[in-house]
């Protein structure tokens, strides 16, 4: 099973013909690196696009520049060097889940242009089902945003903003082709390695715009320690397409967008040498995400924003028996081996922005959510509808003070929603270069469809949903002090020191059903809290942009509720750094993306042979994550990018816990992190023509 690493390219031939000698402009000129990050505009949670500096929320942005220079093929890769973010991988299902600020994915709201993406279960698989080639930037807000975004937004919000062409009449064509090895495995364009390709066309004329984009993201899997037909990482093949159509004028900006995904995760089974039969599984997902959004500036005082989304998500499990002796293949018949789970979601959100005066801004809004699901592991065809009214206000009584109180009222068709969700965000401008943000917010998460109606009984599972669940909620406090260093010659430095405290109640966890100890169900039992501090710094100097950040996050140790002599919190540190340096003379940039994920301690109760319970300290080992990339402008419109991912060659990290808790954690003694040091090379084309 030695797979040769072959890194040969003949891609450039495809793009060898220049398209036009007309006036060209590259959309992303390499020498704009020294942008002013503080003037970046953010939209998440804002009434209107706002600069990062003036936002009442602390918004972290992963800029288009960073995304482009990193040349990621997955959203996970873009996020995995962010402070407070970690990923866990379920290799059995080929899925990964995000953790934000010490909380798992079900407490993180994932949005695309402000619209929540549906997921079938607790893990945020949707993150890996978005076309990276369409993402303009990613905005992250830590802490609850439940007043604006409703359920799930407890730990924070990740909002992916798609690329939108700038105003004007233009035609833009973009293309990308990128090849990556998967550790030491690679084959050109198919099978081993990662193979990403994209083609997009943007057209705009007299306010009308149309966009089409298609991508393929193919991952060939990675064998790792597995033998025979088995793979540590299963192959994943994604086809993604999107289309946008819209119109804008001075008052109205309306657009419709459809995102489509087709995903095939293939899990080859071991060959049984006695009967020469192997059983393979495919997880086939298709997703249609329809979005219609409009912004209407009615007059100087009123504006309206509306969004309607309909999502259709289908995941099919296919289990196939392949007989190598007879050459026959047939579907298996066991319980759950052929299954189609279907979820649909309808979202409507409408908000009115009312500028009462220069000092008072008011935003009332309504949101309607309707989720439906069906499948063998879902009891019946349940529908959950959620109606919310929310109102917030932005008050600027003086130059230096900025207050934003908000309330959300919810009615749910199934469970008793918390009657009202409050929040208050403040920003104090101490001086031109220092400001302080302080916030209190309540977050909530309504029980997911799965937790209410899941049913999974077979020889090894007995789990059922619980229709009597209550919503989770949290009380959260955070404070950030930011210092925007004034220009010191060529240097500019900004720093933000922050702290947060979250207290969660009614957390939903799997427990034993009260009426039948042999059955597991979902119960509201857990109390949980997280505390943390972050310290983030950026430096700009000539063609260098560098950042370094630290975080220290504590998670509640549940065993401390019942056991003495164990700490109430367990802490884990993180350090991250991005360094991007551009060499004008060569038209070349060198970039480093780095993160240290500190050792994560834990405690577990172990029953001894004499029946006594002892408490053991466990630990998930620390590891380093780093990508290096080099990009070079070949012509105005063609960029070559290459580099190394997973520089520290991490595949698995040790965990001393006996049970990791997740359903398919694989080896207890190690957790999968990656598939080793990988190399990539890609070519990007950005050609545009001004059609005025």
């Amino acid at each position: 099973m030695t797979r040769q690493l072959l890194f040969t390219f003949s891609v450039s031939v495809l793009f060898a013909t220049p398209i036009s000698a007309q006036q060209m402009r590259t959309i992303y000129a390499g020498d704009t690196l020294r942008n002013t990050a503080l003037d970046e505009v953010v939209v998440t949670g804002q009434y209107e696009p706002q600069s990062v500096k003036n936002s009442v929320y602390r918004v972290r942005t992963i800029t288009n520049e960073q995304i482009r220079l990193r040349a990621s093929t997955t959203v996970e890769n873009i996020l995995n060097t962010q402070l407070g973010m970690r990923f866990s991988n379920d290799l059995t299902l080929g899925e990964s889940d995000i953790q934000l600020m010490g909380m798992s994915g079900q407490n993180v709201k994932v949005l695309i242009d402000g619209i929540p993406l549906i997921d079938r279960g607790a893990t945020k698989q949707s993150l890996s089902q978005i076309d990276v080639n369409n993402i303009e930037r990613i905005e992250v807000v830590e802490g609850p945003m439940s007043v604006t975004y409703g359920t799930d937004a407890l730990a924070g919000v990740i909002n992916m903003i798609t690329k939108k062409a700038a105003a004007g009449n233009s035609l833009v064509i973009g293309a990308r082709i990128q090849e990556e090895s998967a550790g030491n495995e690679y084959a050109a364009f198919r099978k081993e390695g990662t193979h990403n390709g994209n083609l997009s066309i943007d057209w705009q004329r007299r306010g009308w715009l149309a966009q089409v984009s298609g991508s393929r993201n193919n991952f060939g899997g990675w064998q790792g320690n597995s033998e025979g037909r088995l793979l540590d990482w299963n192959p994943k093949d994604q086809w993604l397409a999107s289309g946008t159509f819209g119109y804008r004028n001075r008052k109205v900006n309306t657009w419709y967008r459809l995102n489509f995904l087709d995903e095939d995760i293939y899990m080859p089974g071991a060959l049984n040498n006695l009967n020469l039969v192997a059983v393979d599984k495919n997880y086939l997902t298709s997703r249609f995400t329809h979005m219609l959004q409009t912004e209407w500036g009615i007059n100087d005082r009123f504006s309206f924003s509306g969004a309607v989304s309909y999502q259709d998500y289908e995941r099919r499990t296919k289990t196939m028996r392949r007989n190598f002796r007879t050459g026959e293949s047939a579907l298996t018949t066991g319980a759950g081996e052929q299954d189609t789970a279907q979820f649909t979601s309808f979202v409507f959100r409408g908000t009115l922005q009312y500028k009462v005066s220069d000092k008072v801004f008011l935003q009332p809004g309504i949101e309607i959510n309707r989720n439906a699901g069906s499948g063998q592991r879902i009891d019946g065809t349940p529908v959950i509808a959620d109606y919310a009214f929310f109102i917030s206000s932005e008050l600027k009584p003086t130059q230096w003070l900025h207050i934003r109180p908000g309330l959300r009222f919810i009615r749910n068709s199934v469970y008793d929603a918390p009657p009202v969700i409050p929040s208050i965000n403040t920003r104090f401008r101490i001086s031109e270069s220092v400001d302080i943000r302080a916030a209190y917010a309540r977050g909530f998460r309504s029980p997911a469809l799965r937790e209410l109606y899941f049913t999974f009984f077979d020889a090894n599972h007995s789990i059922r949903g619980n229709e009597n669940l209550k919503a989770e909620y949290s009380n959260s406090f955070n404070t950030y002090v930011s210092w925007y260093g004034t220009e010191l010659g060529n240097w500019r430095i900004t720093s933000t020191l922050g702290g947060f405290y979250n207290r969660f109640n009614n957390l939903i966890d799997i427990g034993v059903a009260p009426d039948n100890p042999a059955v597991n169900t979902y119960v509201n039992i857990e109390r949980f809290r997280t505390v943390g501090t972050t310290f983030e710094n950026s430096v700009y100097w000539k063609n260098l942009e560098a950042s370094i950040g630290f975080s220290y996050i504590g998670r509640h140790n549940r065993l401390s509720d019942t056991e003495t002599n164990v700490p109430g919190m367990v802490w884990s540190p993180e350090v991250n750094s991005n360094i991007m340096y551009y060499i004008h003379k060569w038209g070349t940039g060198i970039n480093l993306f780095y993160k240290y994920n500190g050792d994560r301690p834990g405690y577990e109760a172990v029953t001894q042979s004499n029946g006594d319970v002892s408490v053991n300290r466990t630990s998930i080992a620390a590891y380093h994550n780093a990508d290096v990339s080099i990009n070079k402008n070949i012509t105005h419109y063609l960029t070559l990018v290459g580099g190394v991912r997973n520089l520290f060659n991490v595949t698995r990290i040790e965990s001393s816990a006996l049970g990791d808790g997740s359903a398919h954690s694989g080896a207890v003694s190690s957790l999968p992190v990656g598939y080793g040091r990988s190399f990539f090379l890609g070519l990007n084309l950005q050609w545009s023509r001004n059609t005025n």
């Binding site: 009967n275 066991g334 077979d458 020889a459 090894n460 029946g611």
Partner: protein
Amino acid sequence: MKTTMNTLKSVGLCAMAAIAVAACSRGNDPIPETPPSDGTTLTLQGGDGGGSAVNSVYVDLSAEQQTSVERAGWNLGFYSGAGFRVILNGTTGTSAMDAGTTDLTEVNATSFDISQLASGYEPAKMALYDDTAGRIEHTVIAEIAANEADNNVYVVNTAFGSEVNVNNVWKVRILRDGDNGYTLHYAQLNATDYETLRIAKDGDYHFKHVSFTAGQVDGEPKKADWDFIWGYNIYYTAMGPSVYIPYAFSDLIFINHLGGVSAAEVIFEDANGESTGKPAYADFTEADLGSVTFSNSRNVIASNWRVTPSPTPNIVVGTKKDRFYLIKDPAGNVYKLRFTSFTTEDGGTRGYPELEYTLVKRG
């Protein structure tokens, strides 16, 4: 033309047969000696239900025969051997308790708390089930005494589970019927009258089966006609060191220990895939039998032959490929036997295990 030929042939054959019969003196029809099977492959027909397939399957290796018996088709088995013993249907996880009285009519859901018959993860619950080693003298129902007044009423729950449905609960009182049979009085728990059934012992069988709803029914094959039974059954599992609790699951293989079958397990590879020094399945011959110790314990094979999915790391789900079994039938034939598949993960179908066996020594 062809038809004519065939007709001519038939006529010729008939004539020859007639001459042959006429020429021989009529003797006793000789019973041909059927040699034991040299071995074959079998797919056991457990029927629908996957991990709780509806049938138990009895296998006779030398005759290449399998007999599927519906697990829910019977409730009690009356022993035909020496002594008067009655077993509960372990293949449905039937539980029972002594009601402490000899009067069937005074036992009902008021006088008897049926929740006592629920399954549970406690060692004490083992007392509700017949011996998990299949020893005939360790049944829940005490030996049927010659003295009628010594035979108490038992309350029987025919369904396994942590919740007890009164519709599955019956009361029984069993007496001897002379020296060679039983008298069974039985009724639903809350019934005020009862039915009576007489069951005669039959030396060809270990047990005569009775269903509360269908009376006396055909159950297991004749005792000389099977070597082992596969299926779902009440068994035990360890819940900590030396702590055993009753546990019902599928794919249990019990040899016909009452019928003189014995068996041995041969593990030829260790956990690292290295040879243990014992011959592999393909290499095992009669000459290797000398080093094998056969056991008559019912549970020699039990569930040792397969691995089910679990959160345990690095397990390979399927039949175990590091071992095979030797089975010595009542006639002294020794077979080597291995399981090739039993569930989706190893290319099989749950409820339809596949096995292959080869004659090693003719008895």
